[in-house]
């Protein structure tokens, strides 16, 4: 019994483990790159340079990071309720539809009027798409992992149908809507910075980044500073204890999924209103799955999620840079790194946790008794 009380110190749990996971993922990636006949060192240099080497690359990195903050938060909130939401991709897709529809329908309104509507629509549509799997889990016992996967595919079919048959810009071949009116575009970071006299290269980095940061703060406040967030975490860690405390686990399941979907919907603000300015096929582009890696590496904590989202944003931006300079490597390599991060920070975590606990655990226990 008492052997289980041997625990890893908090700092190691929060910093050392994810860092070790990242290092392992990068080492294996370096091995793959070497195998392909390229120099891992040069690839790494190109990657870092491509991600942070210029204002353009920083802007792009933060633009991608914005998407990942939203989806990472989405995965994390569900996770705190003991749910694994694999459906952030579909929720972001449908959430984006909401934001997009607002931009299409109210395009002639001023931006300050469109923005709250668009935020509500993005969150609302995403929440609705996540509510169904949440409700099915809570009331019908359908496993949320499977249903969210199914809902990703259903969302994809639905969006293809809408874009091909309903929303398509008439007289156009590719299945996408007409361009949003310019009044509904998210202000770009370089434009806003220019107003306060800072020159920044034009990139898609936009106001949605601020909303992502605000969302992170709100998630933190909600989960750790309010009684409702407390209830949600109790339900996630020990559903029986929740029942004992008069917290409805099924209610918390639905609440968590709704919040999760709403957060995922935020991706539409960044991707559609900030950059694409139209609804198009598969605009989330896998960000929902990156969210899993981001949440796992970020230890499901907003600060960690912000940091790992920036890391992944940089990887995505730096990865596209690789394509130009190394003939044998392209952005797919970043997907490999992403998969490896999920593997080492998530599934194979015990590989590092066990030896680390053996190494550091005892000292922590003694410390706690003394204090």
């Amino acid at each position: 019994m008492n052997t289980t009380s041997k625990e890893l110190p908090r700092w190691a749990d929060l910093l050392l483990l994810p860092l070790l996971g990242l290092i392992a993922a990068l080492l294996i990636s370096a091995g793959v790159i070497a195998l392909l006949g390229e120099s891992p060192w040069q690839a790494m240099k190109l990657l870092v340079d491509g991600a942070f080497g210029s204002q353009e690359s920083i802007g792009y990195s933060l633009f991608y990071a914005t998407n990942f903050i939203f989806t990472g938060l989405a995965v994390a909130v569900a996770f705190h309720a003991g749910l694994f939401n694999i459906g952030a991709e579909g929720q972001a897709y449908i959430g984006g539809l909401g934001a997009g529809l607002v931009c299409l329908w109210f395009g002639n309104w001023p931006f300050w009027a469109i923005l709250p509507l668009a935020i509500l629509a993005a969150a609302g549509f995403g929440a609705a798409w996540a509510f169904l799997p949440g409700w099915l889990q809570a009331k019908r016992g359908s496993h949320v992992v499977i249903t969210t996967i199914m809902f990703n595919f259903i969302a994809s079919s639905l969006m293809t149908y809408l874009l091909v048959n309903v929303l398509i810009n008439p007289g156009q071949q590719s299945p996408e809507t007409r361009e949003f009116a310019a009044t509904s575009w998210m202000p770009l970071a370089n434009e806003m910075l220019a107003k306060i006299g800072i020159n920044f290269a034009p990139t898609p980095w936009n106001l949605a980044f601020v909303f992502a940061v605000i969302a992170s703060v709100l998630v933190w406040l909600f989960l750790w500073r309010t009684r409702w967030g407390y209830a949600l975490r109790v339900a996630g860690q020990n559903p029986t204890a929740a029942l004992y405390a008069g917290i409805s686990p099924s209610g918390m399941t639905m609440l968590a999924m709704v919040l999760s979907g709403a957060l995922a919907g935020g991706l539409g603000l960044n991707e559609l209103m900030g950059s694409q300015h139209r609804i198009l096929i598969d605009f989330p582009g896998g960000a929902g799955f990156v969210g899993i890696a981001v949440a796992l590496m970020g230890r499901n904590h907003p600060v960690g999620i912000f940091l790992s989202a920036v890391l992944f944003g940089a990887l995505y931006q730096g990865g596209s840079q690789l394509t130009f300079d190394l003939p044998h490597i392209n952005r797919d390599m970043v997907v490999v790194i992403q998969g490896l991060v999920i593997l080492f920070c998530g599934a194979l975590e015990n590989m590092f946790r066990r030896p680390l606990t053996a190494l550091l655990g005892r000292r922590a226990e003694r410390g706690s008794v003394e204090s």
């Binding site: 006949g37 992992v145 499977i146 199914m150 809902f151 797919d332």
Partner: protein
């Protein structure tokens, strides 16, 4: 007669679409009945599809390709086993990791080795693909539409893997229900502690189940790139692994119902291709996307208990540890 021919051709297409689904779903059946959630079907298939096409392109042998596909898929299964069984990691996370990793790794390797933008070369030399096996007297049978057409189009004229998949169903059922291995496998997915106290290694059983899953997914992936088409292209599986999982659930983790589910799902797929833009009397034009989404919608409805009830293996998703 026109309609009859159409139906026969539709059913033949159904069989072709169902084959990889069925092989992967049967693979998933083994790991899930042993208590391990197999979301990794997708990644294992994709990895196998790439490895098979690559090896076949280089060596000129479809058989070597099959071997490579199976080896790759089994290796990925073992990686999942390491994470889920040995290190008791989260099975869903592990599978997602493998799926995502493979979806990046396959085109990366393809690009580096063949320099064709993430594809493998066309497999058009003799022996590089598994081609259709034409049964005797098909020509003669073709002349006599009923029942000749059924013989020549539905039974004859598929590649070897299709027939292998057909045999795989009774074989899997036999293995699961008539052998010692099957008994233990089913037990370990229901109550691993009972298996442990009976003096049988839980982890070893789970590894063996996952290796079978890997082998079957390997064949399924090989089918995609070396039999059904001629070469590997990016994201070739396009969700077929998840569809196979849905079929497995829809078939309630049993071999014959799973076969039925695969055929049903494949039929919707074949139908969607046929119905593209076709107007049906009374109903009008059915959106293809709706038909394509039907398998997923049906699975959700089943899971919700609106159509029947699917009872998953009791111990699924939980890593076994003696201490508890």
């Amino acid at each position: 007669m026109e309609t009859y021919t159409l139906i026969v051709l539709l059913l033949a297409a159904t069989i072709r679409v169902a084959t990889p689904l069925l092989l992967a779903a049967l693979g998933g059946m083994f790991s899930e009945r042993a208590g391990v959630i197999d979301l990794g079907l997708e990644g294992k298939m994709l990895g196998a599809a790439f490895a098979a096409a690559a090896v076949s392109a280089v060596t000129g042998s479809a058989w070597l390709g099959l071997g490579a596909g199976m080896a790759t898929s089994i290796a990925l299964s073992l990686l999942l086993g390491l994470a889920c069984v040995t290190y008791r990691g989260n099975q869903v996370v592990a599978a997602m990791a493998v799926n995502i990793m493979v979806s990046g790794l396959a085109p990366t390797l393809a690009l580096a080795w063949f320099n064709l933008g993430g594809q493998t070369p066309q497999l058009d030399a003799v022996g590089q693909r598994f081609t259709e096996i034409t049964w005797p007297w098909t020509k003669a049978a073709h002349a006599m539409p009923f029942p000749g057409l059924l013989y020549s189009e539905l039974l004859s004229g598929h590649n070897g893997i299709v027939y292998l998949a057909a045999i795989a169903v009774p074989s899997a059922a036999w293995l699961l229900y008539r052998t010692r291995f099957g008994l233990r496998l089913r037990a370990v997915g229901e109550n691993p502690q009972a298996v442990d106290t009976a003096g049988i290694s839980v982890n070893l059983l789970r590894y063996r189940a996952m290796i079978i899953s890997g082998a079957l997914c390997g064949i399924a992936g090989t089918y995609l790139s070396v039999a059904a088409s001629s070469g590997f292209v990016r994201d070739m599986t396009a969700g077929k692994g998840y569809l196979a999982l849905a079929a497995l659930i829809f078939g309630k983790w049993r071999p014959y119902p799973t076969l039925a589910a695969c055929l049903l799902f494949a039929f919707t797929d074949a139908l969607a291709v046929r119905l593209q833009g076709v107007s049906i009397p009374v109903i009008g034009v059915v959106p293809v996307q709706f038909i394509l989404a039907l398998p997923y919608i049906l699975t959700v409805l089943l899971l919700a208990g609106f159509v029947g009830r699917a009872r998953a293996p009791t111990a699924i998703g939980v890593a076994y540890s003696k201490e508890k």
